[in-house]
Symmetry: C2
Subunit: 495 residues, 2 copies
Amino acid sequence: MQVHEMKKELSVLQSSLHAYEHAMAVMRADSETGAPSASAAARGETMAFLNQKSYELLVSDHTRELLDGLWAQKEELDGDVLRQVELLRKNLDDMTRIPVEEVAEHSRLRNASLGAWLQAKANNDYASFEPYLAKMIDAERRFAAYKDPSRPAYDVMLDSYEKGMCTAILDPFFSMLRSEIVPLIEKVRTLPPPPAIAACSIDRQRDFSACLMDIIGVDRTRCALAETEHPFTISMNRWDVRITTHYYEDALLSSVYSVMHEGGHAQYELGVSETYQGTVLGSISSTGLHESQSRFYENLIGHDAGFLAFLLPKLKEYFPEAMADVTERSLFCTANHVEPSLIRIEADQVTYPLHIMVRYELEKQLVAGTLTTKDLPEAWNRLYKEYLGLDVPTDALGVLQDMHWGGGMIGYFPTYALGSAYASQILHAMKKDLDVECLLRTGDIAPITAWLNERLHRWGDRYDPAQLLEMTTGEKFNPSYYVAHLKKVVADLIG
Amino acid sequence: MQVHEMKKELSVLQSSLHAYEHAMAVMRADSETGAPSASAAARGETMAFLNQKSYELLVSDHTRELLDGLWAQKEELDGDVLRQVELLRKNLDDMTRIPVEEVAEHSRLRNASLGAWLQAKANNDYASFEPYLAKMIDAERRFAAYKDPSRPAYDVMLDSYEKGMCTAILDPFFSMLRSEIVPLIEKVRTLPPPPAIAACSIDRQRDFSACLMDIIGVDRTRCALAETEHPFTISMNRWDVRITTHYYEDALLSSVYSVMHEGGHAQYELGVSETYQGTVLGSISSTGLHESQSRFYENLIGHDAGFLAFLLPKLKEYFPEAMADVTERSLFCTANHVEPSLIRIEADQVTYPLHIMVRYELEKQLVAGTLTTKDLPEAWNRLYKEYLGLDVPTDALGVLQDMHWGGGMIGYFPTYALGSAYASQILHAMKKDLDVECLLRTGDIAPITAWLNERLHRWGDRYDPAQLLEMTTGEKFNPSYYVAHLKKVVADLIG
């Protein structure tokens, strides 16, 4: 076949794979929003069918020949197409290395394990979940060996969420973070508790979310907001992104920050170049860079003193009674309040990385086999005492709080901390080009998004994360900006 | 191949076709509810891809051989499997007879025509839509000739929405209806206008919808309610049905009756036998029988004096202020008020069939070629004057009000009137087994739904509509019960 014919086939292959992904993403989003509760089993069968069709299309002699054929003539391909072939070959290799029966068995185990986790969390009964967790860790370790037997299993796992990530990078990162953050927490321990914000009607909070999406420039013709227990972002393509939030009368800032967090994820997806849509370059695979954008909008924009001063009059307009006594200073202190707590997803940005460190230490040992799942709760509680100074009263508020491990997502947690560090590094670079302080004070977010789009969003999966971070910021991964940011938050709180 | 092997393949074929249908149905429902406005074009491509895959699966030599192989041994098949083979062969034949290029061209024309209709309706500009309508009618006529050149085109169209339906049945049906209804309208023309219901908060209306679904027994774990401009029902399977409604502060009964109407459609889909799920027997193809169930719950239950008396205390509980002065009698008169009007979807149940008759007369002539699309508005206005005594002030309130013709749905309208007539015939049969009057007065709908399920719902597409109607009611189509029902409504209004 001629190269131009193969390129045409490559394009059809990718748009077909994308169509299956698109349908499954709609079904996933719908399952969390519009679908009735009894619909899950039948939907599971249809999604398994679509997944199977997509698998058969990729893992076939025909596709293998096409990709090998293109690879053999790689000097004739432009960079975009070469990258597409590379990524597809990698996907195909990864899928081929794991025996098909084990993939199906893994999917069943994962469902059972997640079910057991949900039950165990509700009943505060770690023992009932422990055998599933042990099996999940075994399975993930085995899969890592299939993918790359030459490297430590945990590094292979880390790599699957953030290409190129490994303990050689993370060990010094986390140890530096720990030595910097623990003294910070000491500094704020004696601050008086900030004033709470009074109850706000959920209907008004809904209206405010739309206003907030407009302020941060999330295009509402391409991004819809729904309501779910746990906020998330699902993207179909740059014309169709779904974000969700949850409203609590007594926690206005909870929905404000979940809209900004998911809104940041959405900006990334909405910004991927139109030419990459329907190709593998259209899906962002770096979990760390994705999290950097949610953290950028949530923390670096949303928690900024200047931006909060801009936001306050709008908040007073929507919630005149609840915000009557709130000042710029009190809003900043409430939004940025630092206090060690038990639950990761409720943590402030200063103590947050400590929650991640606990998980990083433990999953590293679990994979290495130096910690058993039986001993896990005790180790968890010991680290929470050591890092956060807290006694964990129950496993439900401890080791059972997150679904990740039960779902086989081992090596995922570090990307949450990486995301925050990337975000600060990106902000540092942005400040060379833009007067960010002034833009935040005036609520003028468009130039910030435009900068992020030009340097980062539009590239989709065109580059590996380390390379893209360097292109965006002009330097390699450098967590010092993150530490400086956290120090500044604490300094501003002390006043 | 052995019969048992072929039966196994038949089952896989059907569950695969069903999986594509399922995914597309979720995408359709989502497009009307959760999706952002700019998402349509990309979704269109993915749905076209899934549709193409489903088409390739059905219209293939392999499937043809399988179905012919089964057909050749039909004496060895049980009734369910035989019916599956019959329906699939019919689908395959219909699809094969129309050239593939024309199917694609038709889909493009339909999109353009619906776009032109939307514009024309907004601008009250029939002339801009007329050329599209002319082309749509030509295309539908051509398709009818492909399907069955031996029968009149309009009969072939009618048959595609209600198998076995034809002008030989509909002409006497409509002419009888007209002669009975016109005098009825004369009788109520002098009645005083009924009292209006005051404004009701939309939040309370939302709560009441859930209460109403529980009252009529629509299982909310399997049926979700959303909000759209125009209410509809979409079914994935018996575990997942979506209905929608629209709330207006000033029109409480509008949402009450749309929930009961769509709730009736939902009951039918939720009631199809579990053994038919994932097969062609699981999809109800009779538009008339489907409409009979929406009309049953909306009109024969919802507008019944006894049921309204049962409902009134609940309405007073949810809307104490708006319902303060409403009595059983005034609620009945408001709900059943009869008055000729211009818009079909807002018509009361007595004048409603006249709207259908206008469309039946006109589409029959359009297909026969005895009326041109150019002369259509004039003919429309003349019939509204003749049947309903009304002058049509603008085409937007006249010939442009419905999307059906612009979308190529010619032969669909009669099923709306048939549905109401079927519903009355079904009620007549039900009354032989149940004390319906007492059940409605006490709001005890479960035995009514159970009766409908046993006689009708569970059968899905197992039988042709005429046969199923006869099985359900013990007699052939008999519209006299419908006329008797309308006469009783008018008599009760006069008091």
